[in-house]
């Protein structure tokens, strides 16, 4: 195949180009021509197509996401905000923390192990790029029905991939979620979160300035991995009628990534880079255009210098390749020798592939021939922006007017059977089968991990400063009311952080939705973003970044709107954290917060095939007081556990099973009290001589508290229903091994 150069493009303006196959619309193609004043070369077309895809350009979501900036509170803690590879937050003692969550949904559907593994690899490099040492990962997952054959294919592969990659890197996996719902059949959600830590002065940005500075590509060699993957994998819907697309799958090499992490950290320590960017989706196209447009503007790249694993790759393919474990840095010429020496020490291939120029264009040559000549901003940032039509889905009002009934247990034996049924259901059942495949404690700083309310990691071994992370989403509430659903997810995530004893500090998000071309999906998305932005404003928390994953749908059926919200919290002394499990007998159990009988969106309703009619309305003012209540009361709480999925029933069982210490509970209106998932509630255990303290706190923060029982014994007794710990344990732990073992 002959090389399509800029000169040829000028001579043959009318050559037919496969823009549609590359995912570009006709008007987008026309716009490229206007920008360049000629037709693009095939390499330019490749770059634009991949950078203007939904996945890279956020073209459907941009108009909504800007609310995160506009409504945001000014937070002194926010050191780096949205727009960089990941946001950075000040946690005190000169430490800064960066965290971010991303989706790797579509690649994980195609090849579960490698898709999930490279999802971890990608988010870890994002964190590394900020100058931070990655310290922990988390992974919220969604699957179709637990007993569906496709789930049996996907779940073990995805779990093994996350474990395989994360364990090899030596990163503890401290939490996440696993939720099953038929809407995720064929559209599993694999979100990955990474958190990293650094000192304030070590923050690095993705920028290229200073003419004459060198552009260095380092890490793995470039192969044919995931060519076009970013647009093909992330921007098109799978159609079961057509044969499944089998694009070149990216294969991760965690050991190469581990070496790359240590190599980068040594390079950062020696202060050798001006700017740095990882190569993820859209590979070199993305790295070069983003680095150049964030800097002074000009960059020359000699593409033939890129070390190749597959020498037959064309320049277009080199630009689009998504080979893993690669980084791109801008280095001053005076420091290049030192830079190369560190790379050599770590056995990392590093090659100077170009330099920063005084111009304003990104020039890419291949063996001396000019194949790309573009203003980098037009590739990286000035992509198309769509204000897509939105329409409130008709199902919402229809459901709102509907009534639903689910059977509610009353007699003691019915209550017992109902609790056992609930805790054995896949969404509530014990997830150790999954989490035991992950290394939770490597590095020795993990203080809390799954199934605790939040993951908690020690940052400083002398002061015991630590951070807590939690991710949450209740997609059924989002389906009933996406605005409230987003607010509730943020509230729950904050509550989880505070329940563990940490103070919520910053928010990240991964918004998983169906096709943006469907006005009803777009409405769900717009409402979600509006809800999240409003909630962050009300809670006074900055959004540090996020990720949007669209096209999670099969045919015309979209997934439930699934905004996964991650909250980062800080705890001054990790030894003061509050665990979820009841630690001793003869403690008083208090339910903090009031419930109502609305079972909409609850697990109990879902078990009976009902979604309900209305989501709860988030009361963030109260949630804020609740957070303050929890933080103030930390020293008197022996244990604390959030009430969410599965209601008080699930919370009680998890609290009892953790240390196998029973409890005796008295409840009025027992079924609603057990199964309602009214937000804003926490179960706490306190010593019996602390009654006055908790009562004072309740008055101070105007939080209703109810003494519902005491701890001890070998049973969970709810009114007259007596369930032994063995029965609970059996029901709770047998589900996953039975389904996937």
């Amino acid at each position: 195949m002959s090389l399509d150069t800029v000169a040829i493009a000028e001579e043959n303006p009318n050559s037919v180009q496969p823009f549609a196959e590359l995912g570009l619309k006709e008007d987008e193609y026309a716009r490229i021509k206007t920008i360049l004043g000629r037709r693009p070369t095939s390499s330019e077309l490749a770059m634009y197509s991949v950078m203007w895809s939904e996945h890279c350009s956020y073209k459907s979501s941009k108009v909504h996401l800007k609310q995160f900036g506009e409504k945001a509170v000014k937070s002194a803690a926010l050191l780096v905000g949205i727009g960089e590879n990941a946001g950075v937050v000040d946690i005190g003692q000169n430490y800064a923390v960066t965290f971010k969550i991303e989706s790797h949904n579509h690649p994980s559907f195609i090849e579960p192990y490698q898709g999930a593994a490279t999802g971890i690899g990608g988010i870890v490099r994002d964190i590394l790029t900020m100058g931070a040492r990655p310290i922990a990962v988390m992974d919220p997952l969604r699957f179709g029905l637990a007993d569906a054959p496709d789930t049996r294919r996907l779940l073990p592969g995805i779990v093994a991939g996350i474990g395989g990659y994360g364990n090899c890197l030596g990163l503890p996996n401290i939490g996440g979620e696993i939720v099953f719902d038929e809407s995720y059949a064929g559209n599993p959600l694999v979100n990955a979160l990474c958190v990293g830590v650094m000192k304030h002065e070590d923050i690095k940005l993705a920028t290229a300035h200073g003419a004459g500075n060198l552009v260095v590509l380092f890490g793995a060699k470039t192969g044919g991995d995931g060519i076009g993957g970013v647009s093909v994998l992330a921007s098109e819907t799978f159609n079961s009628a057509k044969p499944t697309k089998r694009p070149s799958v990216q294969v991760g090499d965690p050991f190469a990534e581990k070496v790359l992490i240590e190599c980068c950290l040594e390079i950062f320590k020696a202060d050798l880079v001006i700017g740095i960017q990882d190569l993820g989706g859209a590979g070199l196209s993305c790295a070069t255009s983003e680095l150049a447009s964030a800097g002074s503007g000009g960059m020359d790249i000699q593409l033939e210098k890129v070390p190749l694993r597959d020498p037959t790759l064309s320049p277009e393919e080199i630009l689009m390749s998504e080979s893993q474990e690669r980084m791109c840095a801008v280095v001053e010429p005076a420091k290049i020798k030192h830079f190369m020496a560190i790379c050599k020490k770590w056995d990392v291939t590093a090659t100077v592939i170009g330099e920063v120029t005084t111009g304003e264009r990104l020039h890419i040559t291949f063996n001396g021939q000019l194949i790309v000549d573009v203003p980098p901003r037009t590739v990286a940032h000035d992509g198309p922006v769509y204000n897509r039509p939105i329409m409130k889905p008709s199902y919402i009002d229809k459901l709102a007017e509907s009534t639903f009934t689910v059977p509610l247990p009353t007699a003691a034996d019915e209550v017992k059977a109902a609790v056992l049924k609930l805790i054995a259901s896949p969404n509530i059942a014990d997830k150790s089968w999954v989490t035991s495949q992950f290394d939770k404690y490597v590095q020795g700083n993990t203080v809390l991990a799954q199934p605790e309310d939040s993951g908690l990691v020690r940052i400083d071994e002398e002061t015991h400063l630590g951070v807590a992370i939690s991710t949450d989403a209740n997609a059924r509430w989002s389906y009933l009311n996406p605005y409230e659903g987003a607010k509730l997810a943020l509230a729950e995530s904050c509550r989880n952080i505070a329940t563990s004893g940490a103070k919520p500090l910053a928010v990240t998000n991964c918004l998983n939705f169906g096709s943006p071309e469907d006005p009803e999906v777009m409405w769900q998305f717009a409402e979600t973003v509006r809800g999240l932005a409003d909630a962050c404003l009300e809670l006074g928390l900055p959004i540090t970044g996020g990720n949007v994953s669209f096209y999670n749908q099969t045919g015309s059926v979209a997934i439930l709107p699934t905004p996964v919200i991650g909250v980062l919290g800080v705890i001054q002394d990790v030894r003061e954290r509050t665990p979820m499990g009841i630690p001793a007998a003869d403690l008083d159990l208090y339910l903090i917060g009031k419930y109502n009988g609305n079972l909409s969106g609850s697990e109990w309703a879902y078990l009976h095939g009902e979604i309900g009619n209305s989501a709860p309305v988030a009361n963030l003012e109260m949630e804020k007081r609740l957070v303050d209540f929890l933080l103030s009361g930390q020293s008197i709480f022996e244990s604390a556990h959030d009430v969410s999925n599965g209601g008080l029933a699930a919370t009680l069982v998890e609290s009892v099973l953790k240390n196998k210490i029973g409890a005796r509970i008295e409840l009025n209106d027992v079924a609603n009290a057990l199964f309602s998932e009214t937000p804003g509630r926490v179960l706490v255990a306190i010593a019996q001589n602390k009654t006055n303290d908790i009562a004072k706190l309740a008055v101070k923060y105007q939080i209703p508290i109810y003494k519902i029982g005491t701890t001890g014994g070998t049973n969970l007794e709810i009114n007259q229903a007596v369930i032994s710990i063995e029965e609970l344990s059996k029901a709770h732990t047998e589900t996953f091994p039975r389904l996937f073992g």
């Binding site: 192969g223 089998r246 990216q250 294969v251 090499d253 694993r309 080979s323």
Partner: protein, 84 residues
Amino acid sequence: MAKIIVEVMLKPEILDPQGQAVASALPRLGFTSLKAATSVRQGKRFEIEIQGDPTPTQLAEAEQAAQSLLSNPVIETYIVKVEK
């Protein structure tokens, strides 16, 4: 007694980290003449022993097993052959 052999290899365009590790270990461990090896690819081989010569049904089923069980068709290729 014959054997139906199924050989599974990663597709050529797919990264093979294990093969790469072997390639870089060879010269380091004294196999210096293999330093020139441009690449090492690692795969797996299954030997299915049967009585007598394989029937067409057995071969067809071996082929099916190779495709659906023994290999991951997304990232691997396979060949089925008979050894006596």
